[in-house]
């Protein structure tokens, strides 16, 4: 099982993701440079957090033209696991691999804090190790994480159950007070219709060891490690 972590100029969460994969999970790890034109046999590709290409023009707007992104798109089309975290989620939306967009937080503040997430799908390769409607604690760190989609797209997402994570309180109640950025329907993460491309604003790689204050993020990495194997088998 090999994870590939994409590195754009301006990416900074690549080493954190790499640490979890390599040191905590003991899985094979390859960094994929934005100019690379092949995925080096990776079974799961992670687009990590940061400010790819300085977030010039819009978050993720330039990153989507990177040579590696063509491979990532093909890989996703073939059913490969693609996982965008924070800036990676923004890149996936700009690339059209996920619907909607991430806009400026309603508060205009950069929010760096712990959030509670209600896990609404556990049948996905990314969340199989989570309990049904489990509440997990995962930190966020972003200025532009307010999820937006037009009403038709939003209702399609809801009808198809493509909302994977929703900001909630510690009891799992999806309430406005638990929404850190003004996201529509408290959306923190979505998946494509096929279920192999996940985008989420919170950072599971920052809560995968007890020393960091929580280990809920590790459930997602463990799920992906197992999920990618199933994809290979099928």
């Amino acid at each position: 099982m090999r994870f590939g972590v994409v590195v754009f100029p301006g990416t900074w969460s690549d080493r954190d993701c790499g640490w979890v994969i390599d040191q905590v999970l003991g899985q094979e790890l390859t960094y994929l440079w934005h100019k690379d034109t092949d995925l080096k046999g990776c079974d799961c590709v992670i687009l990590p957090g940061g400010f790819a290409y300085g977030d010039y023009l819009r978050t993720g707007a330039i990153a989507r033209f990177a040579p590696i992104m063509e491979q990532v798109g093909d890989f996703a089309d073939r059913g490969g696991l693609v996982w965008g975290i924070c800036n990676g989620f923004q890149v996936l939306c700009e690339a059209g691999l996920l619907p909607g967009a991430l806009i400026r937080n309603a508060s205009l503040e950069f929010r760096c804090e712990w959030t509670n997430l209600l896990v609404e799908r556990t049948d996905l390769p990314f969340t199989s190790k989570c309990g049904d409607r489990e509440v997990i604690r995962v930190p966020i760190a972003h200025g532009e994480g307010s999820y937006f989609a037009d009403p038709a797209t939003l209702s399609r997402l809801e009808q198809r159950g493509q909302v994977v994570f929703r900001y909630c309180d510690s009891q799992g109640r999806v309430v406005p007070a638990a929404n850190p950025n003004g996201s529509m329907h408290n959306i923190a993460g979505i998946v494509n219709a096929r279920g192999n491309v996940l985008g989420m604003m919170p950072h599971p790689e920052r809560c995968s060891e007890a020393e960091l204050g929580g280990t809920d993020g590790l459930k997602l990495f463990r799920s992906a490690a197992e999920g990618a194997l199933k994809v290979l088998v099928s």
């Binding site: 023009l57 400026r104 205009l108 937006f148």
Partner: protein, 85 residues
């Protein structure tokens, strides 16, 4: 030729920057302000081509990169460049 592109958040998109600027203007006494939207302004210099062709190309640029159709609207003017000294 120069294309002057203006990009604005779609009316349905929440624009916290615009709201904040509106509040700032109100606190300065500009009570007549009913709405503020904050967008982007981009100048694109273009070589050769007719104005008609330039217009078609800039439209494509907006669709493919300059604006995100999910959240933004765009409009632009094309001007013949002023003669350089």
């Amino acid at each position: 030729m120069i294309a002057r592109v203006i990009i604005t958040p779609k009316p349905v998109v929440n624009d916290p920057q615009g709201l904040t600027v509106k509040q700032g203007l109100a606190s300065l006494g500009f009570r007549e302000v009913t709405d503020v939207r904050v967008g982007k302004y981009i100048e694109v210099n273009i070589e050769g081509s007719s104005e008609h062709e330039a217009r078609r190309r800039v439209e494509e640029m907006c669709r493919q990169l300059l604006a995100n159709h999910v959240i933004e609207d765009f409009r632009f003017d094309i001007e013949q460049e002023h003669k350089r000294r």
